[in-house]
């Protein structure tokens, strides 16, 4: 099939326009992070007249960025790990058994996407405070509370996407395993998981991105000690000064892990979406 002139014009216009739209903030982010604060405050210029890496050094001391980074890393990693594990088991059940309550479960899980966050923010806070009072498990202001909360956020999407992925793995493989005397768990670990690796990677990245970028619950469930990046970056704006160059430098620094991870795994992600969503 040959491309018509109209198609070519369409393609060039769309790609040029969207590229400009996408790149403008990224360009501003990078160049501003390399300018001295005085130049930033003097008004915008496309090309930095003086280039400095000082913001990337000063950003660690203006606010306790390293601590926020560690908090985010611990909370996000642990939440991702558990979220993926829980999702794998749930997806295995949903994909391989037609049990009673299966459809209600899927409907309930997916409909939680509909809930406005503010609707369960206050009750959750109340519940956490009461669990603390009743059982002595500190959930407010600690990492545990945030981990438990975050690991449910990506769960609906993960279960749904993984179930789609597992459905695509031929059930004959399970049967073959059973003939060899393998139990359900062995089949999951030895047969399903290796075959579903791209889907699992995609789900893990999704869970990581969700937790890494969450703001609302982090702002209510953390204290200064357990603050994550999502809330901590605000500290660069003080009463007297906004350290724009450092904020943007820090924004780049905290974005790199997730952006690189996502872009490297985007093929898996698209494959997972194709398996789960397109059917």
């Amino acid at each position: 099939m040959r491309e018509t002139l109209g198609e070519k014009i369409f393609r060039v216009v769309v790609l040029a326009g969207l590229s400009a739209f996408v790149l403008l903030p990224l360009y501003v982010m990078v160049t501003t992070s390399l300018k001295p604060l005085g130049d930033v405050q003097a008004g915008f210029s496309w090309f930095p007249s003086r280039v400095t890496i000082a913001p990337y050094i000063e950003m660690w001391s203006t606010v306790p960025l390293a601590r926020y980074f560690m908090n985010s890393l611990v909370v996000t990693s642990v939440a991702t790990l558990f979220s993926v594990a829980v999702a794998i088991f749930a997806a295995y059940a949903v994909s391989r058994w037609r049990f009673r309550g299966r459809t209600p479960f899927m409907t309930a899980v997916l409909s939680t996407q509909m809930f406005p966050g503010v609707l369960f923010l206050l009750p959750l806070y109340l519940i956490f405070v009461n669990i603390d009072a009743a059982f002595g498990v500190p959930l407010v202001g600690t990492r545990i509370g945030l981990i438990i909360t975050y690991l449910t956020f990506s769960l609906p999407f993960s279960v749904w996407m993984l179930a789609g992925y597992f459905d695509g793995i031929p059930k004959e493989l399970d049967q073959a395993g059973k003939v060899d005397g393998a139990g359900n768990l062995t089949i999951l670990l030895r047969i399903i998981l290796p075959a579903a690796r791209p889907g699992i990677v995609a789900v893990a990245i999704y869970a990581f991105m969700t937790a890494w970028g969450e703001v609302l619950f982090a702002s209510v469930l953390t204290t200064e000690e357990t603050r994550t990046l999502a809330v901590g970056l605000r500290q660069y704006a003080t009463q007297t000064n906004v350290y724009w160059n450092q904020i943007l430098a820090a924004s780049i620094a905290v974005s790199i892990p997730v952006v690189v991870g996502f872009l490297m795994m985007q093929k898996n992600f698209v494959a997972g979406l194709t398996a789960g969503a397109v059917k």
């Binding site: 369409f10 903030p25 009750p123 959750l124 519940i127």
Partner: protein, 325 residues
């Protein structure tokens, strides 16, 4: 979403019957066992808080009762009456926030859909550099939300931002530098920022969907002499219908519930033109410390979203049913 939930029912019954391992182990306790962690977590973090939220909307949970919440008096529908009373500022502001959110959602979902579709179609055929565009277009989606919105906040600053630099100093479209984060312009700002974040998701979904359309369909319609636009309408759009159906609903719910974008973009300033409903409820609850009324507003929001979702699903399923007949 419900279409995916019922996916099991729509799969060919023969394969489900023949491979169901139920006959092997007698009673199937195993799936329930491995489902348990997910169920417990969903109950703890989503279901129980939601039920609590319903309860909160029927009691007087003001600052006075927040520490002794078990003693908070039951007030029936009073909180709902306060929330929707258009004689008072509370009701008027809620209504105006709702209308702002409806306009915001229509613009963000509509334009994200259009941009995502245009990009996916423009990148449908292989050409040199296609991978670069594909990767670049996904960056806004991969970027942590707060990093993206903070950058936009800087760009929209009146005196030091790139937007005014472009519009006033370089292009001369405007004579005087406007404020973008306060006043009526705040609406335009929050719409653009939300679209910047959201359209790559539509692009991603369409890209995944396009991969499953067989080339033969395009070849056949090209043989019939169909123009590219005609092909898009006759082949691409119908083949993307399942993706579309789920994606539009998901985007609608995400965008309507969007709290993070206005929260990071405006901080505590909350201009009325950018007062999206989640942000509004959050502020209304924490400024007045009246969680009862805040919960009533949340429940109203949930009921609205539920109603729209049900109508949407009913309408799309009905259309699907008719097209099969």
């Amino acid at each position: 979403m419900t279409s995916t939930a019922t996916r099991g029912n729509s799969s060919p019954p023969t394969s489900a019957e023949s491979t169901a391992p139920r006959r092997r182990s007698g009673r199937t306790w195993f799936p329930y066992l491995i489902l348990l962690p997910a169920v417990i977590l969903e109950l703890l973090i989503h279901i129980v808080p939601m039920v609590t939220g319903f309860w909160m909307s029927f009691v007087e949970l003001t600052k006075f009762f927040i520490r002794r919440w078990t003693e908070a008096p039951f007030v029936g529908l009073d909180n709902y009456r306060i929330a929707v009373d258009l004689e008072t500022p509370i009701g008027q502001e809620l209504l105006s926030s709702f209308l702002v959110t409806v306009a915001f959602t229509a613009l963000v979902v509509g334009l994200s859909w259009g941009l995502g579709m245009a990009a996916a179609v423009a990148l449908q055929r292989p050409f040199r550099g296609r991978g670069v565009f594909r990767t670049m277009f996904l960056v806004p989606y991969a970027l942590p939300l707060y990093a993206a919105v903070i950058t936009w906040n800087f760009m929209l600053q009146r005196d030091t931002g790139v937007i005014n630099h472009l519009l006033v100093e370089q292009l001369g479209i405007l004579d005087e530098a406007p404020f973008w984060l306060i006043g009526d312009n705040a609406f335009l700002s929050v719409v653009v920022v939300a679209i910047w974040r959201m359209w790559p998701f539509a692009f991603l979904m369409f890209m995944a969907g396009l991969q499953s359309i067989p080339d033969e369909l395009y070849e056949a319609s090209a043989m019939d002499g169909a123009s590219p636009l005609r092909q898009w309408r006759a082949v691409t759009l119908p083949m993307l219908a399942p993706v579309n159906q789920t994606m539009l609903l998901v985007m609608f719910l995400w965008v309507f519930n969007d709290f993070n974008t206005p929260y990071i973009l405006f901080g505590t300033a909350q201009p009325p033109a950018g007062d999206l409903i989640s942000f509004h409820i959050y502020n209304a609850s924490f400024l007045s410390w009246d969680f009862g009324v805040g919960s009533a507003m949340s429940v109203l929001l949930l009921l609205f979203l539920l109603a729209v979702s049900l109508v949407y699903l009913y309408a799309t399923q009905w259309r699907k049913g008719r097209s099969h007949a």
